[in-house]
Amino acid sequence: MNKTSNQKAWFFVLPVLILVAFNAIIPLMTVVNYSVQETFGDNTFFWAGVIWFQEVLHSERFHAALGRQLLFTFTILAIEIPLGVAIALAMPRKGIWVSVCLILMALPLLIPWNVVGAIWNIFALPDIGLLGYTINSLGIDYNFTRQPVSAWITLVVMDVWHWTSLVVLLAYAGLVSIPDAYYQAAKTDGARPLAIFRYIQLPKLKRVLTIAVLLRFMDSFNIYTEPFVLTGGGPGNSTTLLSIDLVKVALGQFDLGPAAAMSLIYFLIILLFSWIFYTLMMRNEEQ
């Protein structure tokens, strides 16, 4: 074997290395750097070891925010996934209504996130908002700026409104790609609609739904803009989700060490959940 040694090839890799370094590695390492040091300003840093991690992991405030975050994420997943599949099943498969439905579905996804928050904030205001006013005139006491339950319901409904479309579009794409022969076979086998859903549609949707759950899990776990605009984390701390809490710690209190430790823990939680879920879903897949 005659290997030619050509070190010049490294130059071709360099641009990518620089790009990745600037957009991922350096920012992430900065956070790691902060998480193991203490600073008293003036850009002087002292080694702090794992103390910030210990502090965050033992802090009740973090536990509460994480609890709220998990509750929020699993609530919206439990609503958006089944609802998205149901809407996709109900959508027409051909004709002009397909485009109409697809455009209607895509609309919420096109609105900037802070605008979504602003829309729902005004929409749900009890005195001037259409939704808030209507609910109150039905005799139900509803005020999302003062009642934690109202705030939560508004937050969940807003997220369902904003993101169910994504699940619908993914599920619809999965549904239309099922060949007709499967439905024909099911018909001749005498399968009822429920059996068709259970044994044909659902198994064929497995891959797209895995992607949908992963996307919605990661996005909702990272959610910041919409609740920030809608409730700002209130009333009290009732809708302070992880990222809102993180921003309060990092930019409000300027506790860089704990904030950095929190970021890393937060990041690892998302990574771990996604990995476990994906591995479980894909363990029976053929290659």
Binding site: P179, A181, Y182, Q184, A185, K187, T188, D189, G190, A191, R192, A195, Y199, I200, P203, K204, N284, E286
Partner: protein
């Protein structure tokens, strides 16, 4: 179990068919014997899948009736017709085991579990799936999956007809032959009506007792493989079946007899009516003799096809293919061709002279 009768069947995919070309199926009258093995053979787009879908109930014909025995099933949906279908690519329920796949049609119909188990065991034995009953269907190879789809049809005792829509398309070549003989064997065992749609003449001729040849939305000929080979009713059959296909030579007809290059050619049929339209003499390469007597021709090329040789000759402006055995001498240059009179026929506008169009 039923005799299937198609009466005056026509179908068009357009709501208001205006020209003859708008009809995917043009007038069909066919009777399928109970327990027969039929093949529907024709090129792509000839209407065979349309016909299959009409029989299975996935399509309602524009006009005409479909009868199973004496019952009119034209407007019945597939699940009420007691039919089974095997598709081009394997359709299995991925998440179920092989056993559950085979049991699915029975369970949907509320058959008691003990009977389900017995039937599935029986069918699994027949289709050689017994060893895999506990496996997930998704893990099987393509031929295994096709056996499952076939098994789901066989498992029901009420099935009138099992239809195959080019079922060997995705099967590896060396398994095709095996699966085809398995099908043939199963047909003899269960004695169900089977309709096999294909554009492959080898598949059709080896599987079926009777082959229905279709072209341009009509049935061109129904016959045994031997009939199709020896006495094609239409030049299309002559050309589509056989390898190489039938030779067709323009001819003149005088008093019902054919003349090629001003020489009289003895034929198996005579033209009864007036000599008009496109007149052709059809004879298969197998029934042309090269020798010292007959019509003058030039040898153009000799190609070896293994057990025999194909000789291309030029007779006037037309190419005539001749099959000769490996050991026969083939003269170079000028030679003479003679046609076996029993297998030479006159065709008028494509149709065999003296025969009514099929269907």
């Amino acid at each position: 179990m039923a005799t299937i009768t198609l009466k005056d069947l026509r179908h068009s995919y357009s709501a208001t068919p205006t020209s003859e070309d708008d009809w995917a199926l043009k007038r069909l009258d066919v009777k399928w014997r109970d327990g027969g093995a039929y093949a529907l053979l024709g090129p792509s787009g000839c209407g065979k899948t349309t016909l299959l879908n009409i029989i299975s109930g996935l399509l309602t014909p524009s006009s005409g009736r479909v009868l199973f025995d004496d019952e009119d099933v034209t407007d019945l949906p597939p699940d009420k017709r007691h039919i089974a279908q095997v598709f081009q690519f394997p359709v299995v329920y991925d998440t179920m085991t092989v056993f559950d796949n085979l049991a699915f049609p029975l369970r949907n119909r509320g058959v008691p579990e003990a009977e389900v188990r017995q039937r599935v065991a029986e069918i699994a034995e027949m289709t050689e799936l017994t060893g895999m009953l506990k496996k997930r269907a998704a893990g099987l190879t393509a031929d295994g999956k096709q056996k499952i789809s076939l098994g789901r049809g066989l498992v029901r005792s009420d099935v009138n007809v099992i239809m195959f829509d080019e079922p060997l398309t995705v099967i590896d070549p060396h398994l095709k032959w095996q699966l085809r003989s398995k099908l043939k064997e199963l047909h003899q065992k269960v004695n169900r009506t089977m309709i096999y749609v294909t554009h492959d003449q080898v598949e059709a001729l080896t599987f079926a007792d009777r082959v229905v040849v279709m072209n341009f939305g009509q049935v061109v000929q129904i016959g045994t493989p031997v009939e199709l080979f020896e006495a094609p009713k239409h030049t299309f059959v002559g050309h589509f079946i056989g390898s190489p296909g039938m030779n067709l030579l323009p001819c003149q007809v005088n008093n019902g007899s054919a003349y090629v290059a001003s020489q009289k050619v003895e034929t198996a049929n005579k033209l009864a009516g007036p000599a008009q339209g496109r007149l052709e003499l059809g004879v298969r390469p197998e029934f042309v003799n090269i020798g010292s007597a007959g019509l003058e021709a030039d040898v153009v090329r000799v190609s070896d096809a293994g057990r025999y040789r194909i000789v291309d000759t030029r007779l006037g402006d037309h190419l005539v293919k001749v099959l000769v055995s490996e050991d026969q001498e083939v003269p170079a240059g000028k030679t003479h061709l003679s046609f076996n009179a029993d297998y030479s026929r006159i065709y008028q506008d494509g149709w065999l002279a003296g025969a009514e169009p099929a269907a």
